[in-house]
Structures are given as C-alpha cells and as structure tokens.
Assembly symmetry: C2
Homo-oligomer: 670 residues x 2
Amino acid sequence: MKKHTVILQPSGRRGQVDEGTSLRAAARELGVEIESICAENATCGKCLILVEEGRFEKYNIHSRRENLSPVGAEEQAYFARRPKLLKDKGWEVGQVRLSCQARVLGDVLINVPEESRGNKQIIRKSARERAIEVKPAIRKYYVALTPPNLERPIADWERLARELETTIALVRRGEENLPRWFDLTVDYQCLRTLSSTLREAKWNVTVSVWRDREVIAVQPGYVEDSYGAAVDIGSTTVALYLCNLRTGELLAAESEMNPQIVYGEDVMSRIQYTIGHKDGLEKLHKAILATLNKLLKLAAKTAQIKPDEILEVVLVGNTTMHHLLLNLHPKDLGLAPFVPAIHSSVDIKARELGLQINPSGNVHVLPTIASFVGADTSGMLLAEEPHMQDENWLLIDVGTNAELVLGNRQRLVCTSTPTGPALEGAHVEYGMRAAPGAIERVQIDEKTLEPRYKIVGEEEWNTGKAKGICGSAVIDAVAELFRVGIIDSRGRFTSGQKSDRVREGENGWEYVIARAEETSIGRDIPITQKDVRQIQLAKAALFTAARTLLNQTGLQSPDKIILAGGFGSYIDKEKAMLIGLIPDCELERVYAVGNAAGDGARIALLNVEKRDEIDSVTRGVERLELPADPEFQNQFMLAMNFPHMSEPFEHIAHLIPNRQADPMAKKFMK
Amino acid sequence: MKKHTVILQPSGRRGQVDEGTSLRAAARELGVEIESICAENATCGKCLILVEEGRFEKYNIHSRRENLSPVGAEEQAYFARRPKLLKDKGWEVGQVRLSCQARVLGDVLINVPEESRGNKQIIRKSARERAIEVKPAIRKYYVALTPPNLERPIADWERLARELETTIALVRRGEENLPRWFDLTVDYQCLRTLSSTLREAKWNVTVSVWRDREVIAVQPGYVEDSYGAAVDIGSTTVALYLCNLRTGELLAAESEMNPQIVYGEDVMSRIQYTIGHKDGLEKLHKAILATLNKLLKLAAKTAQIKPDEILEVVLVGNTTMHHLLLNLHPKDLGLAPFVPAIHSSVDIKARELGLQINPSGNVHVLPTIASFVGADTSGMLLAEEPHMQDENWLLIDVGTNAELVLGNRQRLVCTSTPTGPALEGAHVEYGMRAAPGAIERVQIDEKTLEPRYKIVGEEEWNTGKAKGICGSAVIDAVAELFRVGIIDSRGRFTSGQKSDRVREGENGWEYVIARAEETSIGRDIPITQKDVRQIQLAKAALFTAARTLLNQTGLQSPDKIILAGGFGSYIDKEKAMLIGLIPDCELERVYAVGNAAGDGARIALLNVEKRDEIDSVTRGVERLELPADPEFQNQFMLAMNFPHMSEPFEHIAHLIPNRQADPMAKKFMK
C-alpha cells in the first residue's frame, strides 16, 4: 500500500501512513489524540484541523489541500451550517477540514488547534507544577438513531444501547481502558424519561455515560459540555468549584461558612451535639446539604448553566464532616476508640443524598484513612502525590486537629493529633480569625524591643486599627519574643527586660503588641504568658506527631515539608521552625500549598482514574495511633521547649539566642 | 497420609479421605454439600450430622463415634445451648456432631439429615416434573467480629468486609462461581445503620449479601432465614408468592384483583387512560403499588415475618403491566410501531420504587421480549424451558392478547396477536367470567341435539341455575355445534335442524343452551351466530400466529403444545383442536400448565442463575411481527374455517362430520 508523510503541529509528531487513512486515525497512529463525539459522522466538528499549504524544506514535503480527499457532501453541510465560524477565523473550507472525513492521499502538514486536541490537561500549582489529564467519569456521545418501525420495533433502551456501542467504539477507538460494553446499564430515573426524550428529540440525542458503564442522562440534540462540582467541606468553610468536565476549565468558585458552626465550633462539639440531641444528626446533615445546594445554585448561575446539567459532585472533608454529609451518625468518632463507619470511597446517586444536581448524577466522596485522618487528607495526597516520590515528604494539614502523612512511593504513614485552637488564633487572649482588623504579622526589634505589625486589609505596616491577633501573628509574636530573648527556651518571660511593653498584667507576664490607642477596641493587645503556653502545647503536639512518624520510618528529618490548608499559607515558615512547630529542614524545602484537599477533590472530579488511585493508595497508608506510642509523653515534654529540648534544628540555629543544652533533656531522652 | 473410608447417607456416596479431614470437607470431596453459615465456627449448627454406629458388612467397615475427633469445648457449648433439640430427637452428643468440627480418624458411616443438605431443591410440576435448585441471590453469613480498640480502630465497614471475606471463603469453599471479593460493596441505607447495629449486637451479626457483591442487610445475632416474594401482575389478577429463600419453601400465596381494572378492562384501554389523563400514569402506577404493598403485608402476616425481612421481590407481567409497575409511560406501546421502553431485566432498590419491603432490598423485573411479548412470557419460558429441548415446543399464553413462542434449544421465535375478548367469555352475548353461575362445560347429543352443561360451583352436570357462559363453555359449545352439524365448517348455522333449540332469534340464528327456567336470569341463554363469528375471529388470529411461527421454522406441526395461563387449564383440549384454535398435534402432547409466568417468577426468585439464563435466552428470541407478514391475510382467511380450510387436522379428523375439501381454499393458498 502507498504511504504518505503526515506531520502534526504543534506537537511536531510525524510519520508515514497508508493512503486512504482518515486524518484522525493517522493522528492517533502518530500519537496525537483528536477529539470526536459523533462517531466520525461529520456532525460534531470537534475534530476540525487546518491544512498548512506550501513546501516545507525542513521535512522535504509539499503540503497541499489537494493531498486530502475532496470535501464530501456531509462535511460541506457541516461547514455550511457555520458561516460565522469561518468568517471569524478567516478560514475557507478545504483549508479547514474535519479530520474524521479527510483521507490522506499525499503528504500533508496539519495544524491541530487547541480545542481539537484530545486528552486535555489542566495545569495546577502545588509543591511542583503539574498537569492533570482531563479524564472525567462522564463522557458524552452524540447518536442519531434510526426511528423504530413495524419491521424493527425493538425497545428504546436497546435501540440506544446498540447504537451507543458503535459510537463509543468509533469515538474511543485505540484508547486504553476501553469500556466493557456488555455491562452498559441505564439509571432508573433516566430510563423513566428516555422514551419521551428520544421522540421529542426526533431520535438525535447526546448521551452522558458514567464510568463507561451507566447511562445517566440523555439530552435532545447535540450537546458538548458536561459539568461537575468539587467540594471541600471544612469545619469552618465550605468551598465549591464548578468545572467543565470536558475541558477541565474552572467556571465558578463559591464558598460559604459551614452552617454547622452554630451547633459547635469544632468537630468534637458537633459530635457532642448529635449525641445530646435526638434530631442532632438530622439538623447537622440538613444544614450542610442546604449550604451545598445553595452553592451549587450560585455556581450554576455564575456559569450560566442549569443545576440539572451538573452530572457529578466529588467531595472531601474531615471524617466528621464526611459522616455528617453522608448522614452517618458520628457518635463513635467521639468516643474511644474513635471508629469511623467507613473508609472506602462512596458513590451514591445525588437524589438519594438530596443534592440538587441532575437526580441521576453521582456523588463521589473520597476515602477516609483513619479515625481523624479524613477524606480531606485523601484529597491532599491526591494533590501532592507523596506516593509518587522517591524523597520522603512530610505533609501537614493544620487546623484544630492536625493530620500528618510521611513517606514516599514505598511507604506512607499517617497520624493525627489535636493541636487545640491556639494555632488558629482562638483561645488566645486577644485571638481572632484572619479577618479585617486582625494583626497578621509581628516583628520585634531585638535592640529596642519595639514591635512592628501588619493588619489584615492594610497595605502598610503599622497602619490601621487593630482588633485582635490572628493565628499567624501569634506564632510570629511567640517566635520573636523567643528570638529577642523576652521569653526563654522554656517559654517563660525572663526578668529584667528594658521595655515597658513587658509587664505583669492581670494574668501574669505579658508583652504589649498594640497599645490601646492603636486599636479599635480601646484596650492594649498583648501576648500573655498563657498565650505562650497555649502555643507551646499546640506546637509540642504537632512536633511530637511529626517526630513519631519520622522515628517510625527511621528518618531524622523529612526531605520536604508541605503545609496544606489556609493556615500553612499564612504562617512565616522561618518563625514556625524557630518555635519548633515543624521539624528542622531546609527552609526552601518547606512549601505552603493552600487548599490541597480542595485541589484533590478537583483532580478526582476531572480524572476518574485518580479515584481508583487514591482508593488504592489510602488502603495502603499505615495508621499510627499516637496514644498507643509509649514514647509519646517523653517526646511531648522534649518538644515543649523552643525550638526543642534535644534536637539541634540546624537550619534556624543561627537565630536562637544564647543557645545551650537544657539539662532537663536527659530526663526525657532514652 | 493415612486414609479412612467415609460413607454418606442417604446419597450413598463414599470414598477414602485423609485422616484429620473435617467431615464437612470430606463430604464435599465426595460430592455432598453440607450447609454452613458461620464459617465453620461451631456456631450455626447447620452442618449437623449423625454417626451411624455398627459393623456394615456391605461396606466392610466398622463405624464408631470414636472414629471421629472428640467433641471439643465449642461444639459441646453449641449442643449445651440446645437441650430441647437433643431431647426432641432423642440424640446424644457424640452421636450427633457438627460436621465442621468432627475430624475423620477412622471409618465412619454418616447420615446427613435433610435440613443439613446444601443445594436444596424444590420440585415443581409443569409439562414435566422438574427440580429447581435453590440458589438465591441473597445469602446470609454469620460473623463474630473482634470489637475495635485503640490499637486497631479500623472503620466498621472495613472490619465487617474483611471478616466477611474469610467467612464467605470458608462457607463456600469449593463451590463454583465464587464471588469476587474485591467488589463487595454496601448499600447506602444499610451503611447508615451499620455502626449502631454492630454495637447493639455486640459485634455478632448476620449479614445478607446480594449477588455476592452487595451487603444489603445486617441483623443482630444469628439469623437463618431470608425471605423473598415472586409476583405475577396480570391485567386482571395479581398473585404473590412469599418464599423462604434458604429452603425454597412457599410460605404464603396471596392474590387480589388488579386495581387498575377500574381505569380500563384491557391493556389498551389502560394505555389510553394514561394518554388521556395527565395524572393517568401516576394513578395506575400508584394503584398497582398499593396492591403489591397490601399483598406483601398480608403474606408477611401469614408467614409470621416482618415485611422488613423480605429482601427481594421478583416480578413478571405483560409489557403494559411492566411499564405501569416501573412508572414508565406506556403511550408508545399504544401506537404503532408499539415500542416498549426497555427489554432488559431491571434491578432497582425497593425504596426507589416504593415497595414496602426492606428498603435496601432489590426488585428484579424479568425482561420483556417484544412489543406485546412481555415479562410474563419470559416467566413462562423460564418455567417450561423450551430452550433446553431438542423437540420443537409451541407455548401459548392466551388472554385478550395471545403470546406464542415456538422452538427448541437451537432457535426460538415469538409473536403475539390480539384474540379479542371472546375466548375469555367477554363480548359474547351471554358471556361472563368463570365465576359461580357460569356454564363452564357444554356437550350436545348428536342424535337429539339436546345439550348437557356444567355450572361453576356445581358438582353434577345439569344442576344449578345458569347466569351466563364462560370462555371454556363457549369453545365447547361452538365445537359441539360443529361436531353435531348444527353449524358448518364455515361457522354458518345450517338449515332444517330438527330441534327447537336451533331457532332464529332477534340477532339471527342461535342455539339455546339453557332455557329461561334453568337460569337465574329468567331468560334463555343461547350461543348466537354472532358469538360463533367472534370465536372464529379469535381462533383464526391465534391459529394464524401459530402457523406463521411454524412456517418460519419450517415445521408442519409442533412436537408439543403448552397452554399457559388460567384459560389453558379450563378449556377442553380436544374441542379446542376441533375448532382449530390450536394446531393439530397428538392430544396427549398438549399440556395445560397453569400460571407458568408466576412459576417463572418463583424460579427466578429462588435461583439467581436463572435470571442470567433468561436474560440471555430472551435476547436470542426472534421477534416476528405478524402484520409484517404478507401471507398473514391469506392464512387468516384459511383459518376462519372449522377446524381449517386447508389443513388436515389428522388427530381430530374422526370427529369432523362429512369432511370434504372446501373449494374456497384454493383462493387463499399459494
């Protein structure tokens, strides 16, 4: 058989193909995927490409539109229906072709425009930039059915299913992981409207297939896009991302306070509420559902789509949020041995849960890993992929509770520890959330002992009126107090400081950051001895958890530290290390990655294979229960010191004033 | 390794097994399945057997209880909890053993009582007697879980799933079609109560697994039995059979009129109702659901179980009943080309349909085959198994519509034809249902032309007061009128009859079966010329359908005719053949099998493999659409004659008076 050269831009892929091969098939042979949704029927136009004409000396070919088969009637008809497209782009038919129709008769150089390229990717920033291949659970196929007649009055579903088989086979020819046709089923609610939709649509419909196995929607005519939402249910904030499932594009991001907060600030108090009130679970479940439905509606409005067009939702959240979402009673999470109802990921119909998207749509909840290592941690793992690394990474998601995962492709160990609310600015004398008026940064001059501070919402330092201190500033303040020597390595205020900011207040020693006249509350805002103790307890808990994981895997320190969650983004890495909140490590190797859990939800939404991956990864994560570790108390005592009673903390050692060995250390060391 | 002889009664199976083999394992090696549900933990007692002691010369062994391992503590404990069992049966421990515990140390002869035998069977009567192996979709497993503690706080579902794996593997060791463990899932509503059930039950629960893949119920403690219902939704009558899914036993049979009858007598008028009334479908759907729920409740009461213990329902019905049950709009069944929404069998959760059994239970609806060949025909095929035969069987389900299937293991062809209501006694001048007062049998003396008749509810002939004529008597009467020469082969009343019972009435000629004084209505009850014409039309339609199927498969006549449905049981086979209602065939090879559709539903309920079988069989059935057959009109005209214008009808030829070739026949024959 005669062969011709085909060159594909911008990828630069090239090779020889048999005469008569369709361009789309030729591209696949050469490793370039071109989209299609209509089973190569010249209907969808998703496979459109451009012929570059001229002599290309570099490749020694003469590319001409005549080297492709002539434009046939169906292809002509397709372009005739789109005069605006041709005019806007300045294309003429012949130059622009449908690659499913055009056959190779001679050498050609082809340009595959962005929108025609298959296997779309989205780029996300993380500890490293990485591309997510868009492989959604839902794929759409356009089919034009032969209407039934007396000779062939086969049932509507079987008529559709048989045609779908052919279409899917053509559209996905050559792909790996081809679907198992014989298992194709139809969702019951979708079946209920199938017959009328087919007839209203005059037998031309677009079918949405979930995971290659279940038809979940049938829409009249040709429809290109499907939509899905990724949701991170935090104890405080619920964030929802609405995406185009074909392109991966983010169409809307909406967030709202978690309404359950009125039933309890933290997860434990919400669990208590469900135990103490007969209708407690129902109230908390309905509250989060209402918020999710509100966010879905808002996002759909922003994206100018109908909520019914949303065909899937992927959710993450800590174990308690996971249980309350799924209407599973969390009482056993509140009592030792703190057992969740389920670890495995859950797939249920939106209608069964009451989520107001397409009733046949699927709700996928990522797996939980351990008692307090929830689906949010699964999302973080999916976003950061420690299981793909050779290096040992330590991932920390800090909140009232901290979840930690350490390891690499060989082994992952996780644990969790309560850190108390101090790190988030709560239970600190003048603590508050990172809202306008909150001091978010603090520096102290080591000579004058005078502070500088920055307030949320202000551009400049030392401007604005302070209302309180948020978590990041509390850490800053404690680190600075230690660095300038106002408090010692045991966290005690040292005597004889030459500054009136250091004083004995009502509740013991304190350091005034903002004087009354600089505040909007008309009172001095200090950091107190008690506040320092709170931070010590929190950081000792977190560090001990990290140390236990490190010891478990035989490591002195991790190769990289990844701080997930809002908290990680706000804190000053150097100061966090100075107080020993995180283990010693090169500072450039400490990353704050923001809402990794939410990112993980988006990844699982856009790439269905990632769901299977995280199911498998989480099943293999070892769970370490801290109270079960006999060394825990000793390690905790050692970690109470700034930065630590027995560890060198080389990377911030130069900042530590008058460093000397603490004689108490021996008592707690093996 | 040392070997010993094990003999199993009553099967007589025997062989040598390795010393130390458990009796249950030994039995399986020798081809005898012994029940178990507790993973061989000496808990369930389902594997109990008896040791027969003594010398058995025939086998040359000396069977002694000492030839089994001693009764251990757990087995002892099991029997200690059941003093009544031992007392009632007169058994002593040692003689009676748990076969999962007793190990072979010497020769033994064992008696396996009925209740311990696995692979239970139920016997049903049909065209031939056959045994149905009980292999339900739902299997129960008892598991005793280790409660969680701080060292191993794994989630409840995973704790259960892992233990279940072990249990199922032990219980079903050696069986074919072993489940795919890794696919085990849990129904969402079942998951919701899992944690509390496990704790209330102190971690000892019985788990019901559907189709080896989904956990659908978790009950506290040890529970042996599951229940399921098989339902035949007829246009007129709904029949429900409640069965024990372990033993196959029928526990209750309940029936009720189909409440949809108030919206239309036949399927077409009900379809019209859904087209003409906006809420028509909803009304008809809710009506049948209400009746099903009533029957389920009644049956549960009869069987003294809770409706919640019913874990599965299998349903059959004609295509319209199928659609109305599933809330699928039947409007396209009412208009050419008469297309159903779906052929494939349907599985949906009871809660989704609104059936009041266990909400996690499954509803299985058998497949439909063609426009008017519904799930009831699938049930009939499952009950009669023409697809297992070498002979060609013709199956006919007669009602207002008749469904016919012809063929054997090589090929099955089906069709349907409207027969009109005449065969059921409707639209006949004095026609009525087969209720008290209805004449059900008629004979006419060929000399005197005097009739004898039998009335429903009367023991003796010619006693009681007649109210009308039911379908079987209309056929009898027409056949007798033909046999004695009152009507000719074209169905016309012949002139010059010497009986005042043959007379010209208001609407033409008629024959009086019961005189006014013999009736409860005070009027003569005749068969009229018009009635004869009705029967001619009905029988011509049915015969033509059968002839078309026979021609399609190149057969002159079937090897066996099977009449399903109530109608088939009431008619006189010889008379039906005499008027040419059914094709010519040896009379002894015509069988009436009663409610074969309902039997099929029961078979599918009790043996899950039969569901896959019928799915596959129905997919292969060829559908013949009669109006599409050009020969149809000619065949129909030929079939209007008694018994037929051109076919010899050898098996009843001796009954036909003055038989001679009808010159008209040539006109219609090829």
